[in-house]
Symmetry: C2
C-alpha cells in the first residue's frame, strides 16, 4: 500500500507544529531511483497557491527526486514571503538529501491567506529526512490528513513484477476550507516522463476530474506520478495506464466516501450522449445542483431537480425525450413520469442516478456527495 | 402597489384547492385595454414547463389580454396531459372573459412531475374571473405565494401620469423545490410591444438576471410586462425603461430578502473588469461558491474562498494583482493579505463584497444569499 509499495521509494511523516493539534503535518517522499522520470497535473484554478507555482516549474523537465508536503496551511495568497517559504522548503529537502532543488515538488494544504511558519516547516523537513524509510508510506499518508477521518492509500502490483502505489488527502473541495486534493503516486516501473504524463492524464481525466463534491475548485490541487524504475521492468503502456487508473479510481472513491459532512455518495451516469465531453457536462450540472444534493440528503427521489439541471446544459438532447433512473428505477421516460419513485430506498450511502440523453453513443460517470447540515456546519465553522 | 396600480387592469386571487393548505393558489390579471401590447422573458432552461411552452407561443405576436397563474404545481414534465391542462386553462380564461386564448399567458409554480388537477384549476379560473376587481392586485400577489413569507409588490408612478406596477413570487431557486420566479408587471403607459420588450430586457438583465440565490435555474421562470395604455400617455423611452427597471429592482431585492433559509443578503460588486459580461461572470462565480456562502453564514470573513472562485473564471485579470474588500475593509491588496479581517462585523443581514480586477472600466453587481442549515433543511424536507 501507499507510496512505498513501489520499490525505490522511502517516505516519512512527522509533526512539525504547523497544526495546533500536534498531529503529523509534514510528509516527505524520496525517490532513490535509478530513474527520476515524473509527471504531474495541477489545479486549473488561475489563482494558484505558491507551492503550485513552484511545482509547475519543478516538473517542467519531467524529473523529480522528492515530493514534500505539508498540511496546516495552503501557502496561497501569502505574497512574496510565501513563495520564498516554498522555495526554501525545496532547497532544504535538496540540501539534506543531495538532490537538485528543481527536482523537488512542493505541496501545501490548509487555509488560504495566513503565512506558513517557515522555521517550523524547515525543522519538519529535517526531521522527516532523518526518519525516511521504505516502510514510511503509512506515516506520510497520515501526515497529509487534514479533516480526512482516515488516511487514503492504494496500490496495484502487476503480475509482471512492477507496482503503482499512492496516497491522497481531501475530498474535492468538500473538506472544509482546506479545499485541496493532494495525490502522490509512485511506481517502480521504468517509464519515461512522456509516457508517465500520458498515463497520468488519461487516468485523472476519468477519475479525480470526475469527482465533484461541491463544485468548488482548489488553489492547491496537485496529482504527481514519480517513477523510480527500481523494478527494472518496462511495462506495456496499456497495462501501465490501466494500473495507474485503478489506483486513481481507488483513491478517488476513498475521497468521495470520506467527504466531510456527506451522508451519500452519488454516482451520476450519463448515457446516450453525443460525446464524452457532453456526457461529463450533463453529469457535472447535476452534481452541482444544490437542490438535487439537498433532496438526496433528505432521501427524496426528486427527479424533477435532475431534469432541471440537465436543461441548463448545452448538450445535445431532446427536452421532450429524456429518461431518468434512480437506483435502477426508471422514474421518468420520455420526459414524463414513469415508474413510481415511492419504493426507491435512498437510505443507503450509495445512490445511483442514470440519465439517458438518447442522442449518441458516449457515456460518462460523475461522482458527487449530498448537501447536508454537516457540510454547512463544517464550512461555516472552520476558520472561526 | 401591485398589478392593479396601473389603470386598465383588474385582478383576483382565490383558493382552488391546488394547495393542501387551502390558501389562495389561482391568480388572474386581466388587461381591459385599450392597448394589448405585451412582452415577456422566460427561463433559459431547455427543460421548460408546459406553461412556458404555451406562453412562448402566446406572446409571439406581442399581445396579451390576461395572465393566469397558479401555485401548487409546476406542471413540468407532466407529459401531453400536462400541456393540455395548460391549454384548457387558457381556453377557459378566454371563454369567460371574451378574449382570444392566444392572448392568455399561463404561469405555474410548484413541484415538477405531479400532474395539476385540471378540474380544480378550471373552477379556480371561474371563481377568479367572478372576483376580478381594480383593487384585486393584493389578492393576486397573495395567490402566487408558495414558501414566500410575504407577498411581493412594487410600483412606480411617473410625474407624467403613468404607472408601472408589479408582483413577484419566489427567490431565484432558493424557495425550496418550488424553484420558480414568476413576475407580472403592468403599465397603463401606452407603449408598443417592441418598446415594451426592449424596456423589459434592459431591466431584467441588470435585476432578476443578477439574482443568483443558489445557482439553480428554474423550468418555469417567467417575467411578463403588459400595457393597457389606459393612461393615454406615451412615455419617454428612457424614463419608461428606468421605471420598469426600478420596479424590477424593488421586486428582486424583495425576493432576495425573503429567500427561504437565508440569513444574509450578499451584494458582490465587481470593479475594473474588461467588460460587463466578465464582471458578471466573476460575480456569479463567487455567488455560486458553496464554500464562500457557508462562510458568510458562519460570519467568517474568509476572503481566500472569494479569490479561489475568481480564479475559476476566464475573465481578464492578473492573479497576482487582485484587491478584495468585505464590508468596505480591503482584506486583500495585490493578492496578498492587507487590512485585518478581524474587525469585520458580518452579523447583519447585508454583506458587501467588492472585487477589483484592475483590468478595465466595467462593473457589475450580483446578489446572492448565504448557505445555511435552513436551506438544506427546507430543500431536503420539501416533497417528503
Amino acid at each position: 500500500m501507499s507510496v512505498t509499495a513501489a520499490k525505490g521509494f522511502r517516505a516519512a511523516g512527522v509533526p512539525a507544529g504547523l497544526k495546533s493539534t500536534g498531529a503529523p503535518d509534514v510528509a516527505l517522499v524520496l525517490n532513490d531511483g535509478p530513474s527520476d522520470a515524473a509527471a504531474a497535473v495541477f489545479t486549473s484554478n488561475r489563482c494558484k497557491a505558491n507551492p503550485v507555482l513552484w511545482s509547475e516549474r519543478a516538473i517542467a523537465d519531467g524529473r523529480l527526486r522528492a515530493v514534500v508536503l505539508n498540511s496546516g496551511g495552503a501557502n496561497c495568497y501569502t505574497g512574496a514571503e510565501g513563495f520564498q517559504t516554498t522555495h526554501a522548503t525545496a532547497e532544504e529537502v535538496a540540501r539534506l538529501n543531495s538532490v537538485d532543488p528543481l527536482d523537488v515538488l512542493v505541496c501545501s494544504t490548509g487555509l488560504i491567506g495566513p503565512p506558513l511558519p517557515r522555521e517550523k516547516l524547515l525543522a519538519g523537513v529535517a526531521d522527516a529526512t532523518a526518519k525516511l524509510s521504505a516502510e514510511g508510506g503509512e506515516h506520510a499518508a497520515e501526515a497529509i490528513r487534514t479533516t480526512d477521518t482516515v488516511a487514503k492509500q492504494a496500490s496495484v502490483t502487476s503480475p509482471h513484477g512492477w507496482t503503482v502505489g499512492g496516497m491522497a488527502k481531501g475530498a474535492g473541495m468538500l473538506a472544509p476550507a482546506l479545499a485541496t486534493m493532494l495525490v502522490v503516486l509512485t511506481t517502480d516501473a521504468d517509464v519515461d516522463s512522456p509516457a508517465l504524463d500520458s498515463a497520468l492524464r488519461s487516468a485523472t481525466r476519468i477519475t479525480f476530474d470526475r469527482l465533484d463534491s461541491d463544485g468548488c475548485q482548489s488553489t492547491n490541487d496537485t496529482v504527481v506520478l514519480v517513477s523510480s524504475g527500481a523494478s527494472g521492468m518496462t511495462p506495456d503502456p496499456f497495462e501501465f495506464t490501466a494500473a495507474v487508473t485503478a489506483v486513481c479510481q481507488d483513491l478517488a472513491l476513498q475521497l468521495l466516501a470520506d467527504a466531510e459532512g456527506a451522508d451519500h455518495e452519488i454516482a451520476i451516469e450519463v448515457l446516450g450522449a453525443v460525446s464524452e465531453t457532453e456526457a461529463v457536462e450533463v453529469g457535472r450540472s447535476v452534481a452541482r445542483s444544490n437542490l438535487f444534493k439537498a433532496a438526496i440528503f433528505g432521501q427524496d427521489a426528486n427527479w424533477g431537480r435532475i431534469l432541471a439541471s440537465v436543461g441548463t446544459t448545452a448538450a445535445t438532447f431532446d427536452p421532450a425525450d429524456l429518461d431518468v433512473a434512480m437506483n435502477g428505477v426508471w422514474v421518468c421516460r420520455k420526459s414524463a413520469p414513469a415508474e413510481s419513485p415511492e419504493g426507491i430506498d435512498l437510505s443507503g450511502r450509495q445512490v445511483g442516478v442514470t440519465i439517458d440523453l438518447k442522442s449518441g453513443p458516449a457515456t460518462a460517470t460523475v461522482w458527487t456527495n449530498d448537501l447536508t447540515h454537516a457540510y454547512v456546519h463544517e464550512n461555516s465553522a472552520y476558520s472561526s
